[in-house]
Symmetry: C2
Subunit: 229 residues, 2 copies
DNA sequence: CACAGTTCTGGTCATCGTGACTCCATCTGC
DNA sequence: GCAGATGGAGTCACGATGACCAGAACTGTG
């Protein structure tokens, strides 16, 4: 479908991000079809007539990444439509980012030779298909900046988590280290960010950490800026 | 063109903003065709095969708003693609915002019954065509928040301007009043924001204000938050 | 010309958020 | 019991901010 060149075609491309072993990972699929057969690419697909953009993104998430919509934060990032970005014709692609907590290894979907998680650092020498390197950069930068002024970081964690785990999210996504005490003060004092629970996590060689859950708020005021803390 | 329902069509919609008499204004066109004939709508049009998204936006700016690309800041906001948002079929629309300094009154373009500037407050009781009320809200909110952490405010002003004029931009777009002294300190001390000139503006009943020009920077660090200053 | 009114610009001061740092609590493992 | 690790609280100096004040430099009026 959708390979004629008399019409503009609409697609979605997904940058699916999760944390694995304290590193930011992105899900890539290896293409089994031309163009760019054998190259690694972001999961994506054409939007079907009458289909919602978000719906198409969730469908791709299920088909190509075998991930359900549960516990995944999906958000539109930007739309790429430069003619020539896809050799099959004029394809306008709506880029999404999807964030989830420790997502499982993908099973191979249709039209896909392989699918796996990549740590972002591994990708330095990998040539992605189409303009997906740009799309990926755009989505990662969006995720990094949204951690600053929203409560999005919790979507990288299970329902209940410790402050250290939350700090680990920031450190992994931003690629920095943060002062534990200052981060603790900031996270616990910011209204609408965390809800304190009465239980503690199993100790890991130190004092057991109190468990928290994401509170209702979505915006962080004042923000938690990257330049320090 | 582009009214069949066997394909998805791609369009651009523009939220063109400027300041007129100290109020934020948006450019609307009155539709001369079905659907929504006679209703006010954002300028927009279908993207042509082989055309860049930004190119389509600039073309619409010229055709429907008779505005050249000079001195207009154009930026993608979000893409709307819910089926049913356009009765002609499945139309995916990439929303842009365009900001300019005291833009001229538009001349009527093609397929347009009328075109004029509307102060945002006037629009409370106006029913816009399609989902353009949502698109407009989204673009205005984007503009408001980008004033906080970028140097975008200067695009609402002529090349040379005073601090008071710059403060007026913030006050008009945010709908607040800011302390003149504090704003002056903040604007002049933030690196990369303003370049001081050796000339002064013609006095308006008080001490003449020094003229400034936008410096090279694009991001405001630290940001200028809406909650005060 | 004196004076009020206006606007621009620089200043003071209390407060608050922040980064660097210290200290104690509470666990594991030896 | 003790070393080592982690969690959580506190201290302190500094910089940014909001509220407010004062002088500079103009216009307009009596």
């Amino acid at each position: 479908m959708a390979t004629s060149s008399s019409e503009i075609h609409v697609a979605v491309d997904l940058t699916v991000l999760t944390l694995r072993d304290g590193a930011l990972n992105v899900l890539l699929i290896q293409r089994d079809d031309e163009p760019h057969r054998g190259a690694w690419a972001l999961p994506g697909g054409f939007v079907q007539l009458g289909e919602d953009l978000d719906g198409a993104a969730y469908r791709v998430l299920a088909d190509e990444a075998s991930l359900g919509s549960g516990a995944v934060h999906l958000e539109q990032v930007r739309t790429f439509g430069t003619p020539g970005r896809d050799p099959r014709g004029h394809v306008v692609s709506v880029a999404f980012m999807a964030l989830g907590a420790d997502l499982p290894d993908p099973r191979r979907g249709e039209d896909v030779a392989d699918a796996r998680w990549w740590a972002l650092e591994e990708l330095a020498e990998v040539k992605l298909a189409f303009d997906h390197a740009t799309v990926l950069d755009c989505a990662v930068e969006r995720a990094r900046s949204k951690l600053e002024y929203t409560t999005l970081a919790a979507t990288f964690l299970p329902e209940e988590f410790t402050i250290s785990q939350l700090r680990g999210v920031y450190e992994s996504v931003w690629g920095t280290t943060l002062d534990a005490g200052n981060f603790h003060r900031k996270a616990t004092r910011t209204e609408g960010f965390l809800e304190e629970l009465d239980r503690h996590a199993a100790p890991t060689g130190g004092r057991p950490a109190r468990l928290y859950r994401a509170a209702g708020g979505t915006s962080l005021m004042p923000p938690l800026l990257r330049s320090g803390d």
